[in-house]
């Protein structure tokens, strides 16, 4: 992740202290987040609902 963007996102999340004290951990976390989110194949079907289902009475 671009360093400027990383800093902006971390500050937006209120992580100024973590950014100052543990910059490597914040950078590692941002890279992990991108990799994890990138591994998810989000459904193409706009009707695909999330879990738990948004229908009352339907669960496990």
């Amino acid at each position: 992740m671009d360093q400027t963007l990383l800093i902006a996102l971390a500050k937006a999340a209120g992580l100024e202290k973590a950014l100052a004290e543990f910059p490597a951990d914040v950078a590692t976390a941002a890279a992990q987040a991108m990799a994890n989110a990138g591994a998810v194949k989000v459904p193409d079907d706009p009707r695909a609902e999330p879990w738990p289902p948004m229908r009352p009475g339907v669960g496990l």
Partner: protein, 464 residues
């Protein structure tokens, strides 16, 4: 007679009823054993000897008067230190909560007390049930009784090590990405993650609301069923709790596996994440044993481990961030490095990405349900490797995520891990069984059949 510390809960209960052993005698014996062994194992964060002896005295009096509450009456239990036990600290193995004293019992603790169980104390965990073994926390990491140089799995690491070492016969753990089944796999015991919603999580410090489960760690499958009988049940104050009538989880234990259809998920350990050869050999042996016992074993295919893992991590990071954000902003230095690194990704995941993962999750659930329409139970790997040395951080980092447990936190299906053999290095290798929603009894049935047919549950670690 079996050494008291190797008695299962069922055996201890029978000995209490027959008056060949009393709860107080058993607790005193286990306290002495703890004093001798725990300095090497670090299973406990907080041993509550006084509370345990008081509860054992009460149980002894009740049993003596013929008022036997059930099979857990007088039975010692270890409790992972993310469960609230009234008047004891719930530290989550973290400096962040080092002074936090629980005011009331978690629901699962209440239920165990109602069943007459004796709470021995609080056991080690990975910090906030996340990450891995760490040396920068207020308490040392638990160690594996099979070889204290190796980790015992986690995050319910002290619960696993304590059951394995005979410090208590049964324990409670929590499982968000495999944290009951991992120590069961590493320590060669039984760990059962019940169906999502079966056991209340109220009073247990949350990690990820839609992935968190509470489950037992035991030395036998029958004891896992007994524990589940005690702790399962609807809790209207746990939003994830389901109003199910599922009960008597041990009712099928003696039925064997004849005519059951078992789906072997080979691609998890053969291609998605190639396992250590001794783990692969162990899984093939499990398949052979179950076929010899009369089951039909067929190969089945699920979505890939990578997909499950990505979804588990996005959801876990996002939900955990919503819990930990205030502390991560104000006092990031109070976390150990590993936990901090695992919690911070949630700050960088968007709402859209989180919901996207939850939408894909429903499709993965449907894919697993499709397979479970054709088979009764799934057989697959739990850990892909025997546990690594605690001082080998690169190897621990490499092997810790190599597992096939997280898929069933994503889907919520019941899943049990147990010992399937010993590696050439003398460390347990494991297997996992997975069942249909609320059919935990059939998962336990298959596990019991495997247990009866093999010697592994009779093996104890060489620690005295």
């Amino acid at each position: 007679m079996t050494d008291p510390h190797w008695l299962t809960a069922s055996e201890a209960s029978r000995a209490f009823a027959a008056k060949t052993l009393s709860p107080v005698e058993l607790v005193r014996h286990l306290l002495k054993r703890t004093e001798a062994l725990d300095p090497k194992l670090n299973a406990y964060i907080r041993l509550d000897a006084e509370g345990a002896l008081d509860a054992a005295h009460t149980a002894e009096k009740e049993i003596g008067r013929g008022r036997i509450r059930g099979p857990l009456h007088g039975v010692p239990v270890g409790v992972k230190d993310i469960f609230d036990v009234a008047t004891l600290p719930t530290t989550c193995h973290s400096k962040v909560l080092i002074d936090h004293i629980a005011k009331t019992d978690a629901v699962s603790i209440q239920k165990l007390r109602q069943a007459g169980a004796v709470i021995m104390g609080k056991t080690a965990t990975h910090e906030f049930a996340l990450g891995g073994p760490s040396f920068d926390l207020p308490f040392p990491p638990a160690r594996n009784p099979w070889n204290p140089d190796h980790h015992p799995g986690g995050s319910s690491s002290g619960s696993g090590a304590g059951v394995c070492a005979g410090l208590f016969p049964v324990a409670l753990g929590s499982d968000t990405g495999g944290s009951v089944r991992n120590p069961a796999s590493a320590c060669g015991i039984v760990g059962h993650k019940p169906t999502y919603g079966l056991v209340s999580r109220r009073g247990v410090f949350p990690l990820s609301f839609t992935l968190d489960h509470v489950g037992p760690l035991t030395r036998t499958v029958a004891d896992a069923a007994l524990m589940l009988d005690a702790i399962a049940g609807h809790d209207p104050e746990d939003p994830g709790s389901t109003a199910t009538q599922a009960r008597h989880f041990g009712r099928l234990l003696d039925r064997g596996v004849r005519d059951l259809r078992i789906g072997f998920v080979r691609h998890f350990h053969e291609t998605d994440m190639p396992a250590h050869p001794e783990v692969t050999a162990g899984l093939e042996e499990v398949s052979r044993v179950l076929q010899a016992e009369g089951a039909e074993v067929r190969t089945v295919k699920l979505p890939s481990l990578d997909e499950f893992r990505g979804i588990n991590r996005v959801i876990l990071s996002s939900e955990a961030w919503s819990i930990h954000a205030p502390w991560l902003r104000e006092r990031p230095g109070d976390y150990g490095q590993l936990c901090r690194q695992r919690l911070l990704p949630g700050a960088f995941i968007s709402a859209g990405e989180y919901i996207g993962a939850q939408r894909r999750r429903l499709q993965l659930i449907a894919a697993v349900e499709d397979v479970l329409r054709d088979v009764d139970v799934l057989l697959c790997a739990s850990s892909m490797d025997p546990s690594s040395r605690l001082d080998d951080e690169p190897e621990t980092s490499r092997t810790y995520p190599r597992q096939a447990r997280a898929p069933f936190n994503v889907t919520g299906h019941p899943a049990l891990a147990m010992m399937a053999g010993l590696s050439s290095g003398g460390l347990p290798v494991s297997v996992q069984f997975v069942g249909r929603y609320f059919d935990d009894a059939t998962v336990l049935r298959v596990a019991a059949a495997f247990e009866r047919a093999t010697p592994w549950h009779k093996k104890h670690p060489p620690i005295g």
